[in-house]
Amino acid sequence: MKQSRTAEADQLVEFYRRMVLIRKFELSADQMYKRAKVGGYCHLNLGEEASVVGLMDALRPTDYLFTNYRDHGYALMRGMDTGKVMAELFGKSTGVSKGRGGSMHLFDTEKRMLGGYGIVGGQIPPATGAALALTYRGAPGPDAEAVMCQMGDGTTNIGAFHESLNLAAVWSLPIVYVVINNRLGMGTTVEMAAGEPELYKRGASYRIPGVRADGGDVLAVRQAATEALDQARTERRPALLELMSYRLRGHSVVDPARYRSAADVETAQKADPVPALRAQLIADGTLTEKQAAAIETKVDGEVAAAVAFADAGPDPTPDQLFDYAYATPVPNAPTALPGERMVVLP
C-alpha cells in the first residue's frame, strides 16, 4: 500500500536515509578498525549525522568544501562513492585518495570536496584562499559559488581560525565557517578551552555575523546553512555558523572516553538525532515501522557492498611509492629506497 506524502515529508524521509547511511557507515568503519582492516587514526561522525546531512544538503555541487579529519559523512553526502570512501579507509588503490591519505584525508576534485585535514585548523586558511579565488571568477549573485569550511569547537582556539576570519572579513570573501560544537575537543570541554564559549560570538571581533543552531535538527541546520551561504553568494560576506551537537563515542575509535561522566554520555545518547528522527517520522505517520526498517535494510546492503568493494580492491604496491611525489617532472628527484645509494653516476 503506497501512501502519498507531501514533498516535505519525502524530503525528511530522504534525510533520514542519509543519516542512517552515515550511522551505518561509521559503525562499520569502527568494526573494520577492530578487525584491523582500517589503521591509523579514525574519527567518526556518530551523533553528528543531522548536522552533516543538513549542511551538505544546503551546499550545492558547485560549492567547495573543506573539512577536518572527521570527514567520512561529509564525503558520502558530497556524493563520493561509498565503496571508494571505505576503500580509502582500507588503504586500497581504489580509495578516493588512492590509499595515500586514509580516514582523515578524503578528497575528490570533481565533487569539490577539497579535503579532510588532520592538522587542527589546517583546513581554515586554504578554505579562505579558495574563497578568495572565487572572487576572481565571477560576480556575486544568487548563482555564485561559495566555500564551506567545517571545523570542531576546539579548533576555534587556534591562531589559524582567527587569522582566517579576519582575512575573510577584510577581503569580503564568500565563505561560511561551520563549527560543529560537539562540546569536546578530545577530553577538553568548550568551557575549559574557550574564553568565549558561545562560539558563534567569536566572529564579532571581525564583524562576521554568527548564528547558533541545533545541530541535531536536520531542517534547522539546512535552513541556517542555506541562509549563511546565500549571504556569502549574494553579498560576499563571510558567516560563522555554530551547530550544537554531541559526540556519541570517544574522540577516535580507540578512545574509551573514560574522562566522560555517565550523565554526560546519557545526555549525548538522549540527543542522538538518528533514532529521534525515526521516532518522529513514525509518530507523525510519515513512515511505518516496516518502511523505516526497509530503509535501514537497504542501507545495510549499501554499506556491506562498500566493504566488499574495499576488500576486493588491490593494495598499492611498493613500486608505486614515488608516484605523486611531484606534479611536475623534475631532474634528480630523489627516489632512493632506504639504504639505497643516492649518488649514481653513469
Binding site: G118, M192, G339
Partner: protein, 337 residues
C-alpha cells in the same frame, strides 16, 4: 656487593618519562607541565598519567589547542623563573609553534647579551609506522638540531629517557626532548635514584670492531638488535647511540669509526640534508684517513609518508635495510690499499 645505586628496575620508556616528571615536580615546585590533554585525558600517549591527581591543575596545566600560544607562554614563564615542561602532542604539531621555538626560545639568551636564559623543555614524539599518514608521521628533528641556541636530545632507552629528561629539566637552556611513538612501550632497566645524564654526550652502546652503526632514538633499538644478530654470524658491529643531536658528540663518533674503518648511519628522517648528512661530513673531517669505504646512510624514502601499509613499510628504514647495507659495506673495499 651491590649498593643502592646498582639497583635497577625494568620499566617502559613511557613509565621512565612519567617517573622523571614526577621526581622533578616533587623536587622543584617551579616545574610545571603545560600541554594539550595532559591532565584530564592523562596525555594522548599517557606520559603524564596520574600527575594531575598528584599535583593539581596549577602544576599540570591543560591548554586549548593553541601550540603557538602555549609554547610562547612557556617561554615567558621560563623568563620569570618557572621551569615549564611543555608537551606537544606530536612533533608534527610543533610546526605551529616553530616561530616561538626558533625565533624566541632559541634567541632570547644570545640576542639580549646573555641577560636571561630560557629554562624550558619541549617534549614531543616523532615517528612514522603507525599509519597516521603524511602529516602525522614526520621526523623533523633536523629542523631543530640545525638551530643554535637549542639543545636537542633523542633518547633510545628507558634509562636514557629518564636521565636525559632529568637533565633537560635542570638545564638552563631550552631543550627539545624528542620521543618516539614506537618506543613508548619498549622496556629496559632503569637505575634507581635520580641521576641526570650529561646532554651532549653520545654512548657506545655495543662495542664492535668491523663497522660502526650510528643511530638515535628508535633507530638505535634496531641497530642494537641487528648488531646482536650479526654477532652470531661472526660480524662485529659497534653501535653509537647519539642521544644528543645538538650538541653532537663528534669525538665519540670519530673515535669509533677510526677504530672500525666503516660507518653506516641509521636514521628515521628523510635522507637529503638529514642527520646522516651531518654525521658523514663529521667523518670526512675527523676520520677520513681511517675510512675503508664510503660512509653509507639508511634513511626514510623522500615522500610524504603514505597511509597504506605496504607503501609506509617500504618508505621507512628497517632492520632488513640496515643488514643489507652492512653486508654491502663490509664487501666494499674502495678505500683500502
Amino acid at each position: 656487593m651491590s649498593t643502592e645505586a646498582d639497583k635497577t628496575t625494568l620499566v617502559t620508556y613511557r613509565q621512565a618519562l612519567n617517573d622523571a616528571l614526577r621526581s622533578e615536580m616533587s623536587r622543584d615546585d617551579k616545574v610545571i607541565l603545560v600541554g594539550e590533554e595532559i591532565g584530564i585525558f592523562e596525555g594522548s600517549y599517557k606520559i603524564t598519567a596520574g600527575l594531575l591527581t598528584e599535583f593539581g591543575p596549577e602544576r599540570v596545566r591543560d591548554t586549548p589547542i593553541a601550540e603557538e600560544g602555549f609554547v610562547g607562554a612557556a617561554i615567558g614563564a621560563a623568563m620569570l623563573g618557572m621551569r615549564p615542561v611543555v608537551e606537544i602532542m606530536t612533533l608534527n604539531f610543533s610546526l605551529i609553534a616553530i616561530d616561538q621555538i626558533v625565533n624566541h626560545a632559541a634567541k632570547i639568551y644570545g640576542m639580549f647579551g646573555g641577560q636571561q636564559s630560557v629554562p624550558m623543555v619541549i617534549r614531543m614524539p616523532g615517528g612514522g609506522g603507525q599509519q597516521l599518514a603524511a602529516t602525522h608521521s614526520q621526523n623533523l628533528e633536523v629542523w631543530y638540531a640545525h638551530v643554535p641556541g637549542l639543545k636537542v636530545v633523542a633518547p633510545s632507552t628507558p634509562a636514557d629517557a629518564k636521565a636525559l629528561l632529568l637533565a633537560a629539566i635542570r638545564d638552563d637552556d631550552p631543550v627539545i626532548f624528542l620521543e618516539n611513538l614506537a618506543l613508548y612501550n619498549t622496556k629496559g632497566e632503569v637505575p634507581a635514584g635520580d641521576v641526570p645524564a650529561e646532554i651532549g654526550r653520545a654512548a657506545v652502546v655495543k662495542e664492535g670492531t668491523d663497522l660502526t652503526v650510528i643511530a638515535y632514538s628508535r633507530a638505535t633499538t634496531i641497530a642494537v638488535e641487528v648488531a646482536r644478530q650479526m654477532a652470531e654470524e661472526g660480524i662485529s658491529v659497534e653501535v653509537v647511540d647519539l642521544r644528543s643531536l645538538r650538541p653532537l658528540d663528534r669525538p665519540t663518533i670519530c673515535a669509533s669509526v677510526r677504530k672500525t674503518g666503516r660507518a653506516v648511519v641509521l636514521e628515521d628522517d628523510w635522507l637529503s640534508y638529514g642527520i646522516g648528512a651531518e654525521i658523514s661530513a663529521t667523518l670526512m673531517e675527523g676520520a677520513f684517513d681511517y675510512l675503508d669505504a664510503p660512509v653509507r646512510r639508511v634513511a626514510a624514502a623522500e615522500v610524504p609518508l603514505p597511509y597504506a601499509k605496504p607503501l609506509e613499510r617500504r618508505a621507512l628504514p628497517d632492520a632488513g635495510d640496515l643488514r643489507r647495507v652492512i653486508l654491502e659495506l663490509l664487501d666494499d673495499t674502495s678505500f683500502e690499499s
